[in-house]
């Protein structure tokens, strides 16, 4: 990190010793997993910088925004609409949930058989190591799965600014009406927090900002359909992860710059791996920073990841918000329409997700699908079995993996992934 942020972290109430330990593990992992890759696009230098400053400069920026009167909202889920936050002069950031931390403390509050993602979000709070969480003016929990829903009751005893958003479970008219009323309730809550009203002008601008960010990610995704793949799955995942942290406009520029570079690579048939490398579509649970375990295993086992059917990936960024509305209500309607299409496994039934997996398999010219399920994540683990059956019925080779954030099964996973890659060759 370029400067000493100790004072800033101290002021936020972080546990400095634990936080140092976390940063050193993170730095080492980044070195071994990211910087050790070959043939990376030069534009990834920006993301290397972002990661090196993820608890430093970016936090300082957020605190500066706060000092200038903006509010910071932390969220755990892609259902929290960034358009609304931005339109009411708040900045939305993703909260840490990608690594095991303070497991002993977590298990005093949550059952052992809770998924690693929920445990992690508690670990970062209990261990006092997430500066995003500590600087947030509002923390948004959302009623997705039962685990998250119930855990927010406990999280509410640990933080004083938790806001819980209800979410539908069915793609029905009633479901959409619920989402709509929840988004209006959220708009009012943000307006109350910031004291700034959402206007047609501010909402139109924020829709444009978020759409630009999505368009840049869509452009990146399309370039990955080229063979040889111009960027590794790890690097593309990182861009999708940083999507949740970075300043939106700067992020959009940086991704577009990488895309310019990748376009030249595609033209010149330059890739990160040789042309005949088996291509994998990842599908399943979200991978928050620094959960790079499975992609790392896959890309060090002779395959390249060409797409992520995930909340940290295409499920989260798939659709643009229609920008043709002129009034706040029309644009709010467009936001509801856009988010209601997200095919999260908490919906029942959820046939769109299967069609999207098959569609992505075609678009990105994948050779096989690896379904990633977090242990104890009922919605995705339950869906994994019919998804696997349906894909195999289409002769799409599929490997179903259930794992968590620990490294104890890495050797076993490597054998399974390598065997799957051998089967694709």
């Amino acid at each position: 990190m370029s400067q000493d942020y100790t004072k800033m972290w101290e002021k936020l109430g972080l546990n400095l010793e634990a936080h140092d330990a976390l940063l050193s593990v993170l730095g080492k992992a980044y070195q071994d997993i990211y910087l050790a890759q070959k043939n990376r696009p030069q534009g990834m230098g920006y993301f290397d910088f972002v990661m090196s400053e993820v608890h430093g400069l970016r936090i300082k920026e957020l605190l500066d925004e706060q000092a200038a009167g903006r509010k910071i909202i932390g969220a755990y889920c892609v259902f929290v609409p960034e358009e609304i936050a931005l339109a009411a002069e708040a900045t939305l950031v993703g909260l840490c949930s990608g690594a095991d931390f303070a497991a002993d403390e977590v298990e005093k509050l949550l059952p052992r058989n809770t998924c690693a993602l929920i445990k992690s979000s508690f670990g970062f709070k209990l261990g006092k190591v997430c500066p995003y969480l500590e600087c947030a003016d509002m923390i948004v929990g959302e009623n997705t799965c039962d685990g998250k829903k119930k855990s927010y009751e406990t999280l509410n005893t640990l933080v004083k600014n938790l806001y819980v958003m209800d979410l539908p479970q069915k793609k029905s008219d009633e479901g959409k009406a619920l989402l709509k009323s929840e988004y209006y309730r959220f708009k009012e809550a943000v307006e109350k927090l910031t004291g700034a009203a959402v206007t047609a002008e501010s909402l139109r601008k924020s829709i444009e900002t978020v759409n630009s960010k999505r368009k840049a990610i869509h452009r990146l995704a399309r370039l990955r359909s080229a063979s040889p793949a111009p960027i590794s799955g790890l690097d593309a995942l990182l861009a999708n992860q940083v999507y949740f942290y970075d300043n939106p406009a700067r992020f959009t520029d940086s991704v577009n710059k990488i895309c310019d570079e990748l376009e030249k690579r595609v033209e010149n048939k330059v890739g990160v791996f040789p042309e005949n490398t088996p291509r994998i579509l990842l599908s399943g649970c979200p991978m928050a920073v620094p959960n790079w375990k499975l992609p790392w295993i896959i890309e060090t086992s002779g395959a390249v990841i060409v797409g992520e059917e995930s909340c940290v990936g295409e499920r989260g960024t798939r659709n643009l918000t229609d920008d043709s509305g002129t009034t706040v209500d029309e644009m709010m309607e467009a936001i509801v329409e856009r988010y209601f299409k997200v095919d999260c496994a908490i919906f029942t039934p959820n046939p769109d997700r299967l069609s999207h997996i098959a569609e992505m398999f075609e678009t990105y010219k994948a050779d096989g699908v690896i379904h990633y399920g977090l242990q104890f994540c009922q919605p995705y683990l339950m869906e994994a079995i019919p998804v696997e059956k349906a894909l195999e019925a289409k002769n799409i080779p599929t490997l179903r993996i259930d794992t968590d954030y620990s490294m104890e099964d890495a050797g076993q996973l490597k054998t399974r992934v390598e065997a799957f890659v051998e089967l694709l060759k």
Binding site: E392, D409, G411, Q412, T415, R416, E418, A419, E422, L423
Partner: protein, 247 residues
């Protein structure tokens, strides 16, 4: 051309050398505490032009000897096909893992399953249970087969099963019946894994545990299908790696 395959497993290391499609040499040793040292000793003096490594120690071997590697799954499928050309299903139960592999009619791997991260349902499980019942490993299967009925063992976890065995012994249960119950529990797990990948005849049972006659007997009953055990079931992985080294 002489091609070798080395299978560095958790319990043992096997080496097979092929020449003109015939096995000309096969060796075996324990993995011990320093598998690379033992692997180096095992290949010492063996003559071959190319070697391929498999087993959980394959990547260490790759670094030390700059050799290509292949997973146990592909190696076992390949080795089984060499011995039984029309094989459609392979079960391998080794020292610390077990796998079920389904092959297409043209011999390509269609689907595979592996046990989870623990030792349940593997050779290690049987080894520990044999010891806690006071049997030599080689006698464990034959003795279990002498029982007239089995006692249901409910736990698949090696640690819990061991305490279950201890309490059954303390209650005065018949040692052979407990032994049979333990074999049945491993077979239930293996059969479940096989059914998930689909079972088509012929079924080949390989890996060290295939030497246990009780396992073979119970597995045939569970699958309602005859199973075939190669003469040296532990060598199948090394044989498969040698065949792949030849390509």
């Amino acid at each position: 051309m002489r091609c070798a395959g080395i299978d560095i497993g958790s319990r043992s290391i096997e080496l097979v050398v092929l020449e003109n499609g015939k096995i000309v040499e096969s060796r075996q040793s324990d993995s011990g505490f320093d598998p690379m040292k033992n692997a180096t000793a095992l290949i010492n003096g063996a003559a071959y032009d190319a070697i391929m490594a498999t087993g959980y120690g394959r990547h260490l071997f790759e670094i030390a000897f700059n050799s290509p590697t292949v997973t146990e799954i592909k190696a076992y499928a390949e080795g089984a096909r060499f011995l039984f050309p029309d094989v459609r299903t392979v079960l391998d139960i080794g020292g610390q893992d077990s796998k079920a592999i389904a092959l297409n009619a043209d011999g390509k791997i269609k689907k595979f399953e592996m046990n989870d991260r623990c030792a349940a349902g593997t050779g290690k499980f049987l080894e520990i249970m044999a010891r806690s019942l006071g049997y030599e490993l080689d006698d464990f299967g034959p003795e279990a087969m002498k029982a007239e009925k089995d006692i249901l063992i409910s736990s698949m976890c090696t640690v819990f099963a061991e305490s279950e065995v201890t309490s059954l012994v303390a209650k005065g249960s018949d040692r052979r019946e407990i032994a049979l119950g333990l074999h049945s529990s491993v077979v239930r797990r293996a059969a479940g894994m096989l059914k998930r990948v689909s079972v088509n005849a012929p079924v080949i049972f390989a890996g060290g545990v295939a030497k246990n006659p009780c396992m073979c007997h119970l597995l045939e009953k569970a699958l309602e299908s005859p199973i075939h055990v190669p003469k040296n079931p532990q060598m199948v992985g090394a044989l498969g790696a040698a065949l792949l080294a030849a390509r």
